[in-house]
Symmetry: C2
Subunit: 184 residues, 2 copies
């Protein structure tokens, strides 16, 4: 029920084709709501049938034609309705945490390596978010409206990734201590 809305939000910020939306879901909005191009094309079709978006065939030269989608008044009304509706709180779903509970039945050294791999991944993601923060929002105190809201979303990403990095560090340190004194 929410990919529709994520797409509407993105199309409200700027009209675009399925392909362009797919690119956007590889960054920015996609950091908080993933989607493949398959899902996007399918949902766009459904949204067109529902009258939430309007399609325009745009011939291009040097490239295949594209279908540019724009939000209709019905689509805008739907966003407003949806924003006013309560949403489910964020829930964690972390395979690594489940694995950690099973770590005693596996190879501890391999587990440590895996935790550190995840730590490196989150550190990389964090660096990316921080770079975006510096580049796109150099003066955060002056922000209002959409720009402020986008900044706040990015701040959420920064804070979450920072937490994940810290957790991976804590876990890997604890497991290394454990491996050092396995007879405690």
């Amino acid at each position: 029920m929410a990919l529709e809305h994520a797409i509407l939000v993105s199309l409200t910020e700027r009209a675009g084709s399925g392909y362009e939306l797919t690119r956007r879901f590889d960054k920015s909005i996609g950091f908080f709501w993933r989607a493949t191009h398959q899902q996007i094309y399918r949902v766009l079709k459904r949204m067109d049938e529902a009258g939430w978006v309007h399609v325009e065939h745009v011939p291009q030269d040097g490239k295949p034609d594209k279908k540019v989608y724009t939000v209709t008044p019905d689509g805008a009304a739907e966003i407003e309705r949806w924003v006013g509706e309560p949403s489910a709180p964020l829930e964690l779903r972390d395979e690594l945490a489940v694995k950690l509970r099973a770590a005693a039945h596996g190879d501890l050294a391999a587990m440590i390596a895996e935790v550190e791999r995840h730590g490196a991944h989150h550190a990389e993601r964090l660096a990316l978010y921080e770079a975006m923060e510096r580049r796109d929002f150099p003066d955060p105190d002056r922000l209002t409206g959409s720009a402020l809201h986008q900044f706040l979303v990015l701040r959420g990403g920064v804070s979450a990734e920072r937490g994940f990095v810290a957790w991976c560090d804590e876990v890997s340190a604890a497991l290394r201590r454990e491996r050092g004194n396995p007879d405690d």
Copy 2:
């Protein structure tokens, strides 16, 4: 592909019925991997067919019979195989963050209330985790093996919820400032 494994991990910690697993997925392991009783019963059936678990019909008095599941050697081998396999990094999927990007097109006061509702939810969840931490792991420096691993998982929950609470506070403060000076 991972509910199977979450169930195997839980059954390794202690054998149990589908109903009991459902209870466990309402707490502890379920804080990091949600599942409904439907999914659990279906997956247990599949796992039985695959030979990963063994079922025993246990008549009870005062209550309906139950089917108690135990992990077989094949199931244990499967956990080991799965633990040794790399897993996908945790990804955020947050409807509230998507909504925030659309906040300019909705009722700002309602948005603030919603953010604060989420903040309260995460604060409650955090308090629960912290209580579990104090109650179940009063002396964390002495932990080893499974107890240590369970503690570390809980620490992940604490750290994540703390981050969410802080983010909700930041967002609500920023939106309140914005509402206060809408003509900035």
